[in-house]
Symmetry: C2
Subunit: 197 residues, 2 copies
């Protein structure tokens, strides 16, 4: 048995996502090898970050100020909004360095089984934005049952107000036909594109 | 790009063993979802543990006091010492609930390539213990080149002072002959045991 305080630290590490007993033990023992300065920096940064990070009042992205750097950027096209379910998705899209509009975070997906209904998500505020000179709303939600339900719900709400599109669905790069699920195959067939030669 | 303080937290998590960018990101984002009380408990436990944990002055095990719970236990056999290279190994043996003697942590293994020489390890203190009514020293070091070098070194030092043994070597449980390395096979052949029927 480890001493009590070491066991308590292991329990704390087990609160991290996907961390079981073995990994928590490894983290705790490693941390004990650090000098006290390194430990204090680690420990205090967690609280500092929690206190510094808020959500952008316009789009819901992580931000250290009321408006995030993307919403504040005048170079970006404020007439196009990409709808994502979490701030993490923004980072994934930003890495492409391709999209130059703004974002809107719903904060989740409609999921009646998990008691997540449209009113629990940032959908009304999106409809509100659609009243003001928007050119396009791009739905970039997960390609899952819940993502598609949410996309459909939003698309209906925005109908006649603004052009609504969603990300293309089809074979992923490197995807092999024989291992691709039927729904994806069906979509890739429905959405087939003419080859221009 | 994440806000600066979030990025800093991700960097802190990357200091944990085996944690890369993706995992650190996942930890940091998860921690931000916690309420401030949970965060403070996590953050303060790290420092609390660092301050509480010391090493047992007798055996080198983790301890919250000068002597660890094992060395303080009068029920245990103080005339048998098992030599391990790290406090973690003690836990592995203790889980067996089989060994009832004391331990001695060397703090590492002899490794000239990594500039770890016998005098860097707790070997002299072990030799010192061997002067006082010891019945047996069990060497439980890793079955590696470095572990065996260290075992041999210690065995020579303790020669004529006390009975020295080491853990048996052979096929691991579930080990398949065709996938077993030659050295292990050779050892398991050398150490074969007569079947009593």
């Amino acid at each position: 048995m480890y001493p009590k305080s070491l066991q308590q630290l292991i329990e704390e590490f087990k609160k991290l996502p996907g961390v079981g007993n073995k990994t928590a033990e490894r983290y705790a023992l490693k941390v004990l090898e650090w000098d006290i300065e390194k430990i204090k920096s680690f420990s205090s940064q967690i609280i500092k970050t929690k206190e510094a990070i808020q959500f952008c009042s316009n789009c819901g992205n992580f931000s250290e100020e009321s408006l995030c750097t993307i919403c504040k950027d005048k170079e970006r096209d404020h007439s196009i909004i990409m709808v994502v379910s979490s701030p993490r998705d923004i980072l994934a899209i930003e890495r492409l360095n391709e999209f130059k509009g703004l974002y809107h975070v719903t904060g989740g997906l409609i999921s009646p089984l998990n008691h997540i209904m449209p009113e629990d998500l940032e959908i009304d505020s999106l409809v509100e934005k659609a009243q003001h000179n928007l050119k396009e709303v791009i739905l970039a939600l997960n390609s899952t049952m819940e993502g598609e339900t949410t996309s459909l719900y939003i698309a209906r709400k925005l109908k006649d107000k603004v052009l609504v599109s969603h990300l293309a669905q089809g074979l992923p790069m490197g995807g092999q036909l024989e291992y691709t699920d039927e729904l994806t195959l069906l979509r890739s067939l429905d959405n087939r594109k003419k080859i221009e030669v």
